[in-house]
Amino acid sequence: MIASSIFVLLLCTLLSMRLEKRRVTTTLFLLSLVAITALFAHHASDSLQIGL
């Protein structure tokens, strides 16, 4: 479900470009990047059992 939510967040980032507020797009982009990094950290640390 988290993976699906990140794709929805990416879709929102794309749709936000229809607005003239570029800061919204930049903020959504950075949020997506942080979410992807966090999910990667979780999957990368799975076998290490450090619970990220």
């Binding site: 993976a3 794709f7 929805v8 879709l11 794309l14 229809r18 570029r22 997506s32 990667f40 799975d46």
Partner: protein, 191 residues
């Protein structure tokens, strides 16, 4: 003008790669692992940069920042993330006699191709930044039909990925490490 052509090619190329990944997923029945999904996300995130240039390129600057610089900066950040993820997957299967994950194309697995694509994105972005110091505002003010069609296709591909990810994970928070079935579809069948 060159940056607008490049943006279209970039977004359409990303759509082609992601549709190709769907071919492996549905026609060859090779379910994507969590790292494969993360690489798809980074591929989409990297194409958000050129989409930003296309949609916001009607003015050269925003809040004192260059639109071209912002868009390519987004692409580079996403490509660095994607490169780390695909490099990890390459390293997971680097041991001798390891068959790798999924079928190879032209002798390389999808994650190895992804690594090459992410490195390519960084190189192309850097070269574009070197050769295009200033984005020239595009005329006319409205987006042409082919840009709208490109962005619509991109949006549909992202939405399809969201549905595919939900079908694979089902009610679970995370995708299974070694997926074998669509848990979401099984849940619907059971009802």
């Amino acid at each position: 003008m060159i940056e607008h052509t490049l943006c279209h090619i970039w977004i359409l190329g990303t759509c082609t790669i992601l549709i190709g990944a769907f071919w492996f997923q549905f026609a060859e029945n090779e379910l994507p692992c969590p790292l494969c999904m993360l690489q798809r996300m980074c591929m989409v995130l990297a194409a958000i940069g050129p989409a930003f240039i296309l949609t916001q390129g009607r003015s050269a600057h925003h809040y004192g920042l260059s639109v071209l610089g912002s868009g390519l900066g987004m692409a580079i950040l996403a490509a660095v993330g994607g490169m780390s993820i695909s490099a990890r997957q390459v390293l997971l299967h680097i041991a001798p006699n390891d068959a790798g994950y999924g079928s190879p194309i032209l002798g390389l697995h999808l994650y190895t191709w992804a690594l090459i694509v992410f490195v390519g994105i960084i190189v192309v972005s850097a070269i574009t930044m070197l050769l295009e110091p200033e984005l020239r505002p595009s005329e006319p003010k409205k987006l042409p039909w082919y840009s709208k069609a490109t962005l619509t296709l991109f949006g549909l591909v992202i939405a399809a990925n969201a549905i595919a990810a939900l079908a694979e994970s089902g009610p679970h928070l995370f995708l299974p490490a070694d997926p074998e079935r669509y848990e979401g579809l099984e849940l619907i069948d059971r009802d």
